[in-house]
């Protein structure tokens, strides 16, 4: 067992436990904060596996933006303090689907890779330079296309949310 193995296992266990708390916690805000732990430790796993940039992106986007957005949504809509007992969470199907999907994917991956080892020194570190080179060489078309997607999303958001589109000035 190297340090890397220990770190990956420990961070993975933290991530899994926190994710379980996200779906079992009765406090909406706490569920959101557990999500920070889950996503944060996943970022730690990325970091250990030398995917530097991905780890920071994970922190910035998921921990920084998505969770904050969710907490804002909770605050602006219901702002519950204390446990919410009316959460509509189907237990049995949830356990079946979540557990089944998790175990199934774990079985697939474990069976596929067995005990194969890839040395950390054999892989190119995923730093910003490497990522930038890939984005502007192999993946330049999908990358440019994403800007089109964002533009379409922006226009769509305006259409569905602005109340005075198409209205004459009164």
């Amino acid at each position: 067992m190297t340090v890397t193995d220990v770190l990956v296992c420990a961070l993975g266990a933290v991530s899994l436990g926190a994710a379980l708390r996200v779906v079992t916690s009765k406090h909406l805000v706490r569920a959101g904060l557990w999500l920070v732990v889950a996503l944060g430790s996943l970022a730690g796993v990325y970091l250990v596996l030398t995917a530097e940039l991905l780890a920071w992106v994970q922190v910035l986007i998921y921990v920084g933006a998505v969770v904050v957005l969710m907490l804002f949504a909770v605050m602006l809509t219901r702002a519950p303090i204390g446990p919410s007992d009316d959460l509509d969470r189907a237990k049995v199907p949830g356990v079946l689907i979540g557990g089944g999907a998790g175990l199934g994917l774990a079985a697939v991956l474990v069976d596929a890779y067995r005990w194969r080892e890839v040395g950390l020194s054999d892989v190119e570190p995923g730093d910003a330079g490497a990522m930038g080179r890939e984005v502007f060489t192999s993946w330049v078309l999908p990358f440019e296309l994403l800007s089109v997607l964002l533009l379409a999303a922006l226009i769509g958001a305006i259409v569905v949310s602005r109340p005075d589109v198409g209205q004459r000035s009164r």
Partner: protein
């Protein structure tokens, strides 16, 4: 640091998509700067102009066969044909989207943000509809065009999102019956996001298997990879779920009836014709290019899905009482017939392409006619309201009867020739079980169509039979195109069959 080298880009190959994306971006600028009164006219002419220019670029490119921009785009015969089909069907459905005579202000809502049935919602009833729908439609069409020629799974995923997102939005913009329109948009969005996640996970597993996401790379990886085959199988399964969702195959079809019913009818027509072409273009490319060499593994599974789709689609179509839901289930059943073409691999690529054009035009014509039957509440889509329309509006009923007979596959319509071409090429590819199920299910499927015909001509009119409105030239042109193509492809299909035969197989190098 100057070691970044752009991959070689063949701009001629990308030109059709660049034109349509460019027209969409100009359309957004028009929204920002053109005076309100002019926007509609400018947008309609810009959209049609952009699509026609794109079509011209495709025709100029017709013999091109090239993989460009680092393997992200593979332009080949079937890809160009699909792009052309999507553009032509898009131009035709634009006639419905731009129709403003049937209803004051057009089929789209002016201000989507108002809650359904609120005061604001009532106030805006006579406002002209939002003109942002035109750039959104262009984005969707350009995304579909790219989807059909993507050379790797990542580009395919981004293209999938580019065409899905505008469609989710357009579904929620119906002028009448806002509530089910919003429900349709939300349902489509959530299930679509779910399917996208499946697609991405499949891509990740396939990358783990082959070490690349390019379709040709996976094809080679299948022969050389030292990874366990279970990664390939799991990746392929998840990827296929994402694609089959868009194609509305059973058991991933549950969104279809609700979305087809709730969306504005012009958007439903666009989805039934263009999205179907794009989804099957993607399916055909993925299975023919990346997974042809593993066909023995997945063919039985996909054949089961095809059988389920044909049987469930046609049986549930029988029970429908709403014309839009009926056409939705018929679209599910037709997805099953097209899956027969996918399972038959290279032998049936040409006839699948032919089927997409034939079905696309018929379904556009049918939905165009659905928009005409109206009462004070908007479109009267419940079938009981259609009883006895033949007495008051014989021309309408005759044309609709013709389209229904076309769907049912009566000779002298494109429904017959396209099914015949598809099933005979599938038979030659040794898919006899699928062909038998297909023929039997199309017999079942003929029943709901004939039910509509009987309803139109033989049933006595109800107390409040809706009227058949007189549309503008645009919708007339769409109906004419739908009926004419259904007839011409039924009588003289050889012209188009030659074109699809010339398109050849997918480029798999």
């Amino acid at each position: 640091m100057n070691d970044i080298q752009l991959p070689a880009i063949d701009y001629a190959a990308l030109l059709p998509m660049l034109i349509v994306f460019g027209a969409a971006c100009v359309g957004i600028l028009v929204e920002a700067f053109a005076p309100r009164g002019w926007r509609f006219v400018i947008q309609v002419s810009l959209t049609i102009g952009g699509l026609v220019a794109g079509l011209v670029a495709i025709i100029v490119n017709r013999d091109l066969e090239i993989t460009t921009i680092g393997g992200a785009v593979t332009v080949d015969g079937p890809g160009l044909f699909l792009q052309g089909a999507i553009i032509i069907l898009g131009i035709v459905s634009l006639g419905l989207i731009a129709e403003r005579r049937l209803e004051r202000g057009g089929p789209f809502v002016a201000e989507a943000a108002h809650a359904a049935n609120s005061d604001g919602d009532k106030r805006q009833e006579r406002e002209p509809g939002a003109t942002e729908v035109f750039p959104l439609t262009l984005f969707a069409i350009a995304g579909m065009m790219l989807f059909c020629v993507s050379g790797d799974l990542l580009t395919m995923f981004v293209a999938l999102e580019v065409f899905s997102l505008p469609l989710y939005l357009l579904c929620g913009l119906a002028r009448r019956r806002r509530l089910i329109s919003q429900e349709a948009a939300l349902k489509y969005f959530l299930l679509g996001a779910f399917a996208s996640a499946f697609f991405l996970y499949g891509v990740a597993l396939l990358y783990g298997y082959a070490g690349t996401v390019s379709l040709t790379g996976i094809r080679e990886g299948v022969l050389q990879s030292e990874q366990s085959g279970i990664l390939l199988a799991a990746g392929l399964a998840l990827l296929a779920i994402g694609l089959l969702f868009k194609a509305a195959a059973v058991p991933f079809h549950v969104w279809t009836p609700d979305v087809y019913q709730g969306a504005p009818t012009p958007v439903t027509a666009l989805m039934a014709a263009c999205t179907k072409a794009a989804a099957f273009g993607g399916l055909l490319r993925v299975f023919n290019v990346a997974f042809e060499t593993t066909a023995w593994d997945w063919q039985p599974v996909l054949a089961t899905v095809a059988i389920l789709t044909m049987v469930v689609g046609s049986i549930l179509a029988v029970a429908q009482t709403d014309i839009k839901r009926l056409l939705a289930y018929s679209s599910v059943a037709n997805a099953g017939y097209l899956l027969v073409g996918v399972v038959s691999l290279n032998g049936a690529v040409g006839s699948s392409l032919f089927y997409l054009i034939a079905y696309g035009f018929s379904v556009l014509g049918a939905f165009a006619m659905v928009t005409l039957v109206r009462d004070s509440e908007g479109e009267a889509t419940h079938l009981s309201r259609w009883a006895g329309l033949g007495k008051g509006s014989p021309l309408f009923s005759a044309l609709f009867t013709f389209l229904m007979l076309g769907f049912a596959g009566i000779p002298l319509t494109s429904g017959f020739t396209s099914k015949f071409a598809l099933f005979s090429s599938a038979w030659d590819s040794d898919q006899s079980v699928l062909v038998i199920v297909g023929v039997l299910s199309s017999v079942v499927l003929a029943f709901p169509y004939l039910k509509v015909v009987v309803l139109l001509w033989l049933n006595p009119p109800g107390e409040e039979t809706p009227t058949v409105s007189v549309p503008s030239m645009l919708t007339r042109a769409v109906i004419f195109a739908g009926v004419a193509v259904t007839f011409v492809l039924g009588v003289a299909p050889s012209f188009l069959l030659d074109i699809v035969a010339d398109a050849g197989p997918f480029l798999a190098k």
